[in-house]
Symmetry: C3
Subunit: 136 residues, 3 copies
Amino acid sequence: MTKKTAFTPATHTTPPAAFSHGVRKGNILQVAGQVGFLPAQEGQPPTPAGPDLRTQTLQTLTNVKAVLQEGGASWDDVVMIRVYLTDTGHFAEMNDLYNGYFAEQGLTEPPAARTTVYVGLPAGLLVEVDALAVLG
Amino acid sequence: MTKKTAFTPATHTTPPAAFSHGVRKGNILQVAGQVGFLPAQEGQPPTPAGPDLRTQTLQTLTNVKAVLQEGGASWDDVVMIRVYLTDTGHFAEMNDLYNGYFAEQGLTEPPAARTTVYVGLPAGLLVEVDALAVLG
Amino acid sequence: MTKKTAFTPATHTTPPAAFSHGVRKGNILQVAGQVGFLPAQEGQPPTPAGPDLRTQTLQTLTNVKAVLQEGGASWDDVVMIRVYLTDTGHFAEMNDLYNGYFAEQGLTEPPAARTTVYVGLPAGLLVEVDALAVLG
């Protein structure tokens, strides 16, 4: 059987349940839903950046990237990004942030596909993002 | 590195942010979340079909198919379809439309898996659909 | 073209529309959104376990596993689990159930990635789960 590998960036808090921040099996790498938690501090509970949408969104994308990198991947490998917002009124601003963020990433491949939907998230969280990558 | 290819059907409006309507990397093809926008008109903003569920759902499926085809794929290649509705009261009608639509597609392979959940969408949109396909 | 195979465990009710409970194409296996329906009874409509979160969650995970097994896969093959809850107040209890369930599964590989979001589901359903696996 193809081995499955999990990875947790040093900046990340331990997942709150029996799941992995990122796994790779075969040529598929999946990043779990990331939120805008600041880098983990020993002995401290996870703390979201923000509370504004800008800070949380950029921290969330940073957290997704950290998992990709820990798994030997980059944004160029990502085929799908799922963005979960809590408020349709945040769409335009999130898009501006998203565009600005990716403009600075120096991608050499076309951008990933994306789906954005509006859901409930735990109190204090405005955005969650996960990503599917294909390696090799 | 495996190259990533993006595709945009001629009927499609430009994505509202730095994402692709469809991408392929290796044998994986991902279609971004599609809504019921009518074929793009030069100089016009995206306009949803409808406003009824029937018209929007069929236009949305047409838009997903256009991305699949632009990427050299068909419904037979799709393994997962995610359907986002805004109202649990739309489930039965959406299923009728979905069944009718696929009955006319002449599939030669079994239908894809599917998850349907109820979320918020931008005003005027009743349905969003994305799809994951495996090629080769 | 790579063939697509669909599978339906004997315990499962017929899907309410033209989709498959599970499909495999190439090395990708996708399990459709499963809810906590009890094993199908001839001539009876689908009936959810429960109504409590504990019973529904465990039945839902059992149903996902049944599809994986019918497709020749196991939890060890799963790279992504998507959990849909209806209430953020259910997160802690779902995590406890999730941890307990997987502790008993005897996984030999690291756990899958996961995203949990809060959506609407049909009346009476508190949880839905789908899963993406990589075989071979």
